[in-house]
Symmetry: C2
Subunit: 589 residues, 2 copies
Amino acid sequence: MSHSVWSYDAPLREMRFVLEHVLDAAAAWAECPQHADLDLDTACAVLEQGARFASERLLVLNAPGDLEGCHLDADGRVRTPAGFREAYRDFVAAGWPALAAEPRWGGQGLPLLLDALLREMLDACNHAWNMYPDLLHGAVQTLSAHGGDELKARYLPRLVSGEWLAAMALTEPQAGSDLGLLRTRAEPQPDGSLRVRGDKIFISGGEHDLADNIVHLVLCRLPGAPDGSRGLSLALVPSVLPDGGRNAMRCIGLEHKMGIHGSATCAMRYEGATGWLVGEPGRGLAAMFVMMNSARLHVALQGLGHAEMAAQNALRYANERRQSRAPRQARQPGEQADPIAMHPAIRHALLGLQARVEAGRVIAARAALALDLAQHHPLQATRDAQQALAALLTPLLKSRLSALGFDGASAALQVFGGFGYTRDCGIEQSLRDARVAMIYEGSNEIQAIDLVQRKLPAEDAAWHALLDELRAEARACAAQPELRDFAEALGAHCDAAQAGVGALLARQDAEQRLALAQHAMDGLWGLLEAWAFAASARAATRVRDADPAWADARLLRMRYGLQWLLPGVLSHWERLRGADLALPQLQPG
Amino acid sequence: MSHSVWSYDAPLREMRFVLEHVLDAAAAWAECPQHADLDLDTACAVLEQGARFASERLLVLNAPGDLEGCHLDADGRVRTPAGFREAYRDFVAAGWPALAAEPRWGGQGLPLLLDALLREMLDACNHAWNMYPDLLHGAVQTLSAHGGDELKARYLPRLVSGEWLAAMALTEPQAGSDLGLLRTRAEPQPDGSLRVRGDKIFISGGEHDLADNIVHLVLCRLPGAPDGSRGLSLALVPSVLPDGGRNAMRCIGLEHKMGIHGSATCAMRYEGATGWLVGEPGRGLAAMFVMMNSARLHVALQGLGHAEMAAQNALRYANERRQSRAPRQARQPGEQADPIAMHPAIRHALLGLQARVEAGRVIAARAALALDLAQHHPLQATRDAQQALAALLTPLLKSRLSALGFDGASAALQVFGGFGYTRDCGIEQSLRDARVAMIYEGSNEIQAIDLVQRKLPAEDAAWHALLDELRAEARACAAQPELRDFAEALGAHCDAAQAGVGALLARQDAEQRLALAQHAMDGLWGLLEAWAFAASARAATRVRDADPAWADARLLRMRYGLQWLLPGVLSHWERLRGADLALPQLQPG
């Protein structure tokens, strides 16, 4: 079957458009001393280099890594697929892990916004490989915020550079979504260290051959700690001790998974391993949650990367594959059939995916910018407001973009038809790889609980500030006659969402609130998409002089999103404003 | 991790409930001479035996078959996974392939309705294995309707018994959804046979070791045939010739697929293979389409089987797996946590899946009953009306139940969490296996085209008869005060669908109609679900005396479907009644 090779054309132009015209990132950077010297051309040059690394070094390892997988040798060491180690060595040598880390630990201090766009590209080309460095940022953040000076000095420089890698050891067989159930124990030693004993499962990158030391952050209980999540502490447990000896911990099994075969998902046994407390005793969960906003944003970017990859490869195929005739008349009468890109079902599939990817990138970038402003803006009020906004957006991004990665891969697979169902194509691996993002870093069900039980009640000011920001966009669109439909739709979504969230929070019964959580999630994501469509459309009109065809095509996709994707969303708010409905209990089964 | 073993508890009680109380199948059988002697107990005893075969013989081969896959040996022969051959031998010995075949060819002449419920169970336990016998029915139907007497006598008895198996050879590299593009040639010989030359791909069961002869029905062109689908003819090409020699055809490759690894998906080369014409020259597509209603119903049943399997295994897990507390108060305070079955998100996932599976089974069974009545009812008018109803329901069932199989597996995977993402669980294989059903036997996009371009315009009488049947159900529900909400919802869906279909058919522009095709598909499926919820709820009230707990639980699930699943559906009809919207062309990409 004639077909395109699975390939990656990094969306650099689109990324620059988002930075420059949708978000005006340079203006935000100018306000922050740490980023004041950064200009757009430099930022985009960095992204261009990242795109080159992703598409030249990682994509070629993606399908082979899926076939080969990881192997656990008899001595307990894990071998990653061929080429992973060399690619990681060069990734470190090029300084990529340090991109957004703090200069005082050797980081380059560039914005998380750039780091986010870089990650999208790495994930698009090789999700499994990128699992290893993806864990660094959270470990660095946690250690920076809660580690003692000695631990910081010993571990941060080599984690920031990427010379050493990290693992987050949370889950145990009986404790997944509910970490309060975990049992791993840590006993304080006279020298101030801990001896850690217990079994953990689903530990991504718990053991592998990419780095000489793997720094585990292990959630555990000190002696006498109470049951439940309040009794948890966090220990730093390196695979290699400061004296160069191996620590008393080992990988006792690798999971055989649906996807991300190149990522070592380890069952770890800590057999009196030496560690050190990070943060206060009993405050382990709080220390862990420091990293959650950015770690969950990373998962969102995995979904975005998969969806972008799916959309662009399916589009290439749809333009090449000829079957049947376009509905009104033959488009290419000299050929035996028209490209399937002419068929309405294919246009819906790909326009929908493109519009969602472009909106998702805008929303994710806005959240990353919020994290940068929360860290670096000179005004405390701005830092607080942006931190709250990031906290509010996090569960939405994690849940909806991980779902987009999976649903988008499935939609693209459908465009490829039977070929898509074979391993030769590439999209079935995307679908398998993308699926995990809906589960880990807090399942999407946990994200919905986080949204309605924590974030919306706690971040009322951020919610209203967000509504203000969105309504300002609606007013700006209303001032341009050609964008009046965007203004009206965004305004309608703001009104419906405000009323719907109010109705949700007015419900006192936790069960009813939770029963409506996914409706709130979907409704709010629709609101954010409505904003992203509007803001992107308005930005497109501003660049029309430079490249009318590109700008008009962008505008057309945003209007497609507005007209075809958004109308169904408003029914979620009707449900939130409606009467209580019974949610039956399940049968014993 | 402690967990249930992946297992199958055949929904025999539910099936009997559908036959006896929802559809009153015995009354329909009584009207048809061929089925007049069949009673419900006998029918259910047959299903019970089928359930035993599926759960005792096929389930045990499912995961191993996925791991082992099929192998193409150097001599061009295909080996199926260990145990497949023996299971098939015993399946034939027990007479299962002949269940619904015509008695004059050795069939047992039982209703397709029973055959459909049997297939659901076989597919639930081993989709890949069931691909082989699944192809028999269509071949038998095609040959019965269009074969010459000699061909029938030579092939039908051994196909009906299952001693020989069949393959449908349609797709070529350049011809998938558009069969008019295919190039395989057939040259008539002086002895009346054909010499067939060409390459076919994606031929399920094209070569394997389950039977001594594989009868291929090959779509091809006779010399001088025009281009396009009007030039196609159908040839019967057996792998073993009547003289016992092997025919000039071979498997030149096996696809490496996302799922159904135990099903041999062959690239076939016909190298001057001997064959015989089935049906008129140039009428090959019409002969092929004889089998389409039942073949597409079979695909729907694959989806239903996967969804049932996913629902029941996820429910067992949800009742065992303990994480966190139920929202209002601890349900099992003596344990460290409550079963996740208590959590609203899990209840939504599983109640939604259960309600959809139960409704899907009712709708599929109604279509199978229509096929039986179309074949066996003494009145021509009834036969015609039921044939038209089956034709109308076919694309809806194929598309929506194949999607339910995949979406249901994904929803269940989410219930299993990280464990679901591992191969140990079983659900990730279901998801991979189920995905193919959205593609083959006419992709779901083709089904939507079939619905709005062929079935709805052509089957206007059947559409109005269906509305009458559904409105009669609404009136029956209205007569029972406790079912008034079902009556109102079903009535509202009937009204909205009638207006929406009218608005769709009033559009003259093929492109606009196609642009709305998926909305029509989703709206009509919602209408059918509304009917199935109502009819099942009313039937449940009739069996309440015998088992109040069972009946009330069934009613509760149907009301869940009514209240939580259906409201969003009506927005599809708004779109169908709305103004034309532009559907942009895709970029060159």
